[in-house]
Symmetry: C2
């Protein structure tokens, strides 16, 4: 069962998806459903003996192309809607233990092309309001499969964070005749203290208003809305800055840093979103090597985030870690 239920307190949809409780939970590596199928063994999710990058629909989807009718009847105050949309899994590499950070630039450019292709294809469907590419990494963030992979959710509405960004980006453009994210990147480059690494085409910062201690945003210097609008040079720039951030993250505490990676792209709901600027956001839960930040009372109950670190200091720490030179990456 799967449906959207309206929360009139917050004016927002929640996805109720009850078939997901039994989803595969940290299986032993011999039973990894994201590995290639071994000859003579039952097929995994990917019925091939090898692959570069694999994309398929999630077996335990929150949103479905042809969802069932909602199980409950809504009211005028609390309507329900079918959980229409698509949930896809993107398997980054065939080897089970291959970290994305150690993939070469060719492979990262291939992954960016896959993300761009899926965004274009899913975003073209009339029932899809936005395509959200993301990755949950690490058990600390609740990952249930440790094979390197990300996910794509194509939502039938604008979820709250994307809606607020779209609204605030549009309001900024109306007021200032410029792009909010272009202006932020310009200010960060001029200030310099929160820059982690930068190139002609991309800027990585711990944003001035970071909610998480080692939060990093990646912003293209040109005003583009979607991954599929990136030029070959910009896609190469993204591969390099992405690899650099992943390497820096793993160097930070000497272990693979857990994180949520959220790719915020322009909505595809048909409204005018010309103000919206593509960017990546990384939220690692670690506030120190051993301590995690939790979303507790202030964050979950009131919506007020508390960051126990100074963005100027965490940016300096990440900036000082290898790699320092994007041009030298291979």
């Amino acid at each position: 069962m799967s449906e959207l239920r309206w929360n009139p307190q917050l004016a927002d949809w929640v996805i109720t998806a009850t078939h997901r409780q039994d989803r595969t939970f940290l299986p032993p590596r011999d039973f990894c459903p994201l590995c290639p199928t071994r000859p003579g063994h039952p097929p995994t999710e990917i019925d091939r003996s090898d692959f570069q990058i694999a994309v398929f629909e999630n077996r335990f989807p929150s949103l479905q192309r042809r969802p069932p009718e909602p199980a409950v009847t809504g009211t005028a105050l609390t309507p329900v809607a079918p959980a229409v949309g698509t949930c896809e899994v993107v398997v980054y590499t065939a080897p089970h233990d291959a970290a994305l950070a150690s993939a070469d630039l060719d492979h990262l450019r291939r992954l960016i092309a896959v993300w761009a292709h899926r965004t274009l294809e899913l975003g073209a469907r009339p029932e899809i309001a936005c395509v959200f590419v993301f990755e949950n990494r690490g058990e600390a963030i609740g990952v249930t499969l440790d094979h390197p992979h990300g996910q794509i959710y194509a939502y039938p509405h604008l979820p709250e964070i994307l809606r607020r960004e779209a609204d605030n980006g549009r309001a900024h453009r109306s007021a200032h005749h410029s792009c909010l994210w272009c202006d932020l990147a310009t200010e960060e480059l001029a200030d310099g203290r929160r820059i982690v690494v930068a190139s002609e085409t991309w800027v990585a910062t711990v944003p001035f208003f970071a909610r998480w201690p080692y939060e990093v945003h990646l912003t293209p210097t040109r005003h583009v809305g979607w991954l599929h609008e990136l030029s070959a040079e910009e896609a190469d720039g993204l591969a390099r800055i992405l690899k650099a951030i992943l390497l820096k993250y793993d160097a930070l505490f000497g272990f693979p840093l857990p994180y949520v990676m959220a790719i915020h792209q322009r909505p595809t709901d048909g409204d005018d979103h010309a103000a919206y600027h593509l960017h990546f956001e990384f939220y690692p839960p670690n506030r120190t090597e051993a301590k995690l930040k939790y979303l507790a009372g202030s964050e979950a109950g009131a919506g007020a985030f508390i960051n126990d670190t100074l963005p100027e200091e965490t940016a300096a720490r990440l900036r000082a870690l290898e790699p320092l030179d994007l041009a030298a990456l291979r």
Copy 2:
């Protein structure tokens, strides 16, 4: 250092509070700072040999009555503001291992009176926009001190969730000439499937639009905005329904269930918030006895919550657990 930084993407403040990284972290019980001071030992946070309920300012506050000047200079795009406000700790009981669920009704009524008193006093200060009483319970939710206690944050602005509730409550009243929360309680009582327990004065539900599997909301049946407006009968009703929910939570899996408890009260910013209706929200992170729900990509990155359970089923499960009879509680 402590300051508010503006996030123009989300039009929201984030609290940057760097002195909190070294706050006391799961001390051994002999060094619990929330226990009464033992004769001949150095004073704890409470320099008394016994107490019923203790309230004091947090030693590691995110918000302060007289905050330091911000350490960084903002810009027009990303302003900063002093982190004005107050963070208080409410120690529920002198005994270190006393669960709130086992406190008698007298003690719970006393705690409600303490919350009401602090709300009235902090809310009267002109720089305070809202008084947020909450509790984080359990290591799974990031609690750093296991002595039973809650917290109070008096914010200088309306944090995002409280602002949205205030806005949506006001819009509902304009459109329907009635209270959103009164109407929700009426619908839930008429439907019955999501009622956990109810009395003349209070209703406990797993809300239709629950984001967390065992989320419970407590709503007074009369339209009141603050705890200090409750009549003696309503305060008694709250003590009983609160005790019942805490006992049911601990009976659910046979261990003290971790949760965030958020008390949503009418803002005190001087605007017209007559539409706003006091309510409690509990978010336990457990989706099963052994599995936690995490706020990962869809929730943290897009704002789209996924609930893997049916509110009708989790409400039935909580409803069937002891205690069944509010009148029999002592």
